[in-house]
Amino acid sequence: MDKTWNNKAWFLVLPVLVLVAFTAVIPLMTVVNYSVQDTFGNNVFTWAGTEWFEELLSSSRFWEAMVRNLIFSFIILAIEVPLGIFIALNMPKKGWGVPVCLVLMSLPLLIPWNVVGTIWQVFGRNDIGLLGYYLNAIGIDYNYVQDPFDAWVTIIIMDVWHWTSLVVLLCYAGLVSIPDAFYQAAKIDGASRWAVFRYIQLPKMQRVLLIAVLLRFMDSFMIYTEPFVVTGGGPGNSTTFLSIDLVKTALGQFDLGPAAAMSLVYFLIILLLSWVFYTVMTNYDAER
């Protein structure tokens, strides 16, 4: 059957284009404009050229925040992806347990970021927090306000608690879409549990895993609210990620020019890393 070409369909795309223009393109253009100028407010701008970019690229504060961000994202992916797959594999596929598990898994995702931060800020406190109090009671010296290692552990556990569910739900969606015939064939062939996972479940989950890895990477690389609420970037600068540094520069110091330059570099890095992830995973998929 011949395809019907109707160019009027392009008009259906227009609302999305307008929406994206107002929410993404125009703000991005404005950030580019700000990044080469200086302002003290009242819409008065002076040309600064590449000054803010040069300042940023030679700033140890920026590179330290970047390294922290990369380490954080790496740890998050290394924990959440395997853990999410493991939980999804062990979730029931039939019966009353399915809705129960799905609801339990969805709960952390429904909690707003700032509330998650507040929950863990209180939970980890030494004086009134359940976690902080009992860890110290059993002799573990835990204090996320003063110890950078404890602050990192708290933020990582908080993120794992908040977002592993997303990986679980995506993997579970991939798993339940596998027809029973695959498992029956594997059973006839006497395939081991590992072989079933390696050659049936993992390939079938690959597309959703790609989405999970991309979402978790971008989200963890842009994390702001939770660590800001729990540690405020401290102790010292130990949990100051790029986004926190950016907000401090833009809103705390009202340095819009340097903040815009930082935003652009931040944006380019996310764009590059997301492209690398996407390309590697889609091409691996295509080769199979």
Binding site: V32, N33, N43, W47, G49, T50, E51, L268, L271, W275
Partner: protein, 95 residues
């Protein structure tokens, strides 16, 4: 309606930058109209790219070339621009 865009802080250099991007996109659209399909091929990266992918790689790479030049060499970006053009030609030829 008073459409005051002073908050966007436009300058001639940034306007020229965006006009160039827009022209590139229009050029790509015209190219696609003249030769539909995106010309997919497998280049030195050993995976399939369309000409849209190659433009994306050229622009992204050029941005990093300029940043690297600023960080390592200095603020005179004409050589970085020349290098970016050579890089973009390489991407369109070999990737």
């Amino acid at each position: 309606m008073n459409l005051d865009l002073s908050w966007m802080a436009w300058t001639w250099p940034t306007a020229a930058f965006f006009a160039t991007i827009l022209l590139l996109l229009c050029g790509m659209a015209a190219w696609e109209y003249a030769s539909p399909g995106g010309n997919p091929r497998v280049g030195i990266l050993r995976f399939e790219t369309t000409r849209g992918d190659r433009l994306f790689l050229s622009l992204l790479g050029s941005a990093f070339i300029h940043l690297a030049w600023l960080g390592l060499v200095g603020s005179n970006l004409w050589w970085a621009l020349a290098l970016s053009v050579v890089y973009a030609i390489g991407v369109f030829r070999y990737v």
